[in-house]
Symmetry: C2
Subunit: 326 residues, 2 copies
């Protein structure tokens, strides 16, 4: 490839997504899709697809349809998840089901899945069966992850390993699928495919755990939304589960029911949760776990059969994602 | 193929669907899918796929993955439509969102789309790009049809041709996509592909219009659910639009608002609507339109380049679907 900086690569993703915009009638079907895609975000998944392709090949354009397909799929999951979570805001704007209505949000999301597959049609024909297989397998795992996430809401106890398995399915697997598709287009060997897949999977775990951490210990700018959302929802995150595991019975019960206490203001709940998190030293535990997965990610990159310099940009990208708190 | 009767063919569809059942964890994701697929129905779309393949080839087994993919997709649309329509019952049993909950219904439906694509992976590899393209195009049109259907609910006036275009997208296009995929697997020429697609599209229109007719003039056994549902919802069906077009202003207003009249029992609304339908003679108009589309369907079969006897079973099948009221 003409070697592009990360920001130039991001721009090429944005251009491709803009040119892939779905227009047409009925407007109520297509307008929410454009709205959802225009909200931007980091375009993390398509970036991974292109960077992964670029490790193995200088011609990364062929990976663009896969990159776009994965991004449409990701935005579909956000659209439907917002209905399920009754979340009014997405990236600072009304979520689709609030701006339009629930039925329109369900149907537009459905159409986004199929449109992702329509983009996939544009991938190199001879690779289509393999790419299709990765995309399908990945998508099913994302649904499994979302269902486990919903299951965990109504469960009293969730173990750390169950939690990590859930975020692996719900978040990391889509990153690894994105990277794997890029590597397939780039012509990677089977061994390299497995390494790059493992890299993106471990990176995804580190990324999600860092997101958990920033909810309690980050700034709004780092997190991209208001701090403490997980605490106010009583969400069983890595921090919450770790704290519940190590606090004494009395504080454990206090923390578990904190989000339901009507006498406390949101700010007070967040402050108190953080005190209890500090007491259990979950910040250190989480940082260690992030480091663990991030290092495993880098080890997977080291294992690739390509010259080290071909992975420089991917390392830079990984650092920009998970290096934020370091 | 070993020539199978229609009932033997249906049995082979059921067997394939049963062996394609998705099992696994999390149960809340997969159990609603099995529940939805086990509800049966006529398996109209997979039958069309297999019969269409059988016109061109004696080896119809290769079309089975497409047949199953289309049936999963169809059942997904029912699952999500039931949420959108707030419909408590599907084929005599609680709809998925009533039996479980709305979030589970949204997510299971999403997974059914992707599973349809996973089944499609099993189609002959060399045909995959073409089959994938037909499947995608078809699915997008179904969503457009569903959105028009929702749009029409809040519109005062819908023309007959707008209505026919909507049911074409929402219902007929999936039948024609099913038949087209079967014919592709069967090795049909491009011209024959267009004929068989047109056949199934016209058959689909006739089938849906007959469904409209049976809602007012059929028996519960013929319709498969309680008579008069469209009338009680005030749905702008072919009969309703035709009647509104030809009644005088006073009766027109009465018919348009009949479903909202709180002083009338459901039975009284149905009886009165039927009186007004009779006065406007919409039964004859609808029967003529059904006949029109059914004859065009048969003409499309006549245009195929194959010996007449290869289409015998498809004709028999078409008759069994739309011949019910003749």
């Amino acid at each position: 490839m003409e070697h592009k900086s990360l920001s130039a690569l991001l721009q090429s993703v944005e251009n491709y997504l803009a040119q892939s915009e779905l227009k047409g009638e009925p407007a109520q079907l297509y307008a929410p899709i454009s709205y959802s895609m225009e909200q931007g975000g980091k375009r993390l998944r398509p970036m991974l697809t292109l960077l992964s392709c670029g490790i193995f090949s200088d011609a990364i354009e062929g990976a663009m349809p896969c990159a776009a397909a994965v991004e449409f799929f990701h935005n579909f999951t956000l659209l439907h998840d917002d209905i399920m979570d009754n979340a009014p805001i997405r990236r600072g704007k009304p979520s689709v089901f609030r701006k339009w209505n629930q039925n329109i949000a369900i149907l537009s999301g459905d159409a986004m899945i199929v449109y992702a597959y329509q983009l996939l049609e544009k991938a190199p024909t001879e690779l289509l069966p393999r790419l299709f297989n990765v995309f399908n397998t990945t998508a099913m795992k994302v649904f499994e992850g979302q269902q486990y996430d919903m299951d965990f809401e109504s469960r009293d106890e969730v173990s750390i390993e169950e939690y990590v398995q859930m975020i692996d399915l719900k978040t990391a697997v889509l990153l690894s699928g994105a990277a794997r598709m890029g590597a397939i287009v780039g012509g990677a060997s089977d061994e390299d495919l497995d390494h790059i897949t493992r890299f993106a999977d471990e990176l995804g775990l580190a990324f999600q755990l860092q997101d958990d951490l920033l909810d309690s210990y980050g700034t709004e700018a780092q997190l991209g939304k208001a701090i403490g959302g997980d605490i106010l929802e009583g969400k069983k995150t890595f921090l919450m589960i770790s704290a519940l595991n190590s606090l004494d019975e009395c504080e454990r019960r206090e923390l578990a029911s904190l989000h339901q206490r009507e006498s406390l203001l949101p700010e007070q709940k967040i402050t108190r949760a953080r005190e209890l998190f500090d007491k259990a030293d979950v910040r250190t535990a989480t940082e260690q776990r992030i480091k663990f997965h991030f290092e495993r990610a880098l080890e997977a990159l080291d294992a690739l059969s390509v010259p080290m310099e071909r992975t420089t940009q991917m390392r830079e990208f990984a650092q920009s994602l998970v290096g934020r708190k370091k």
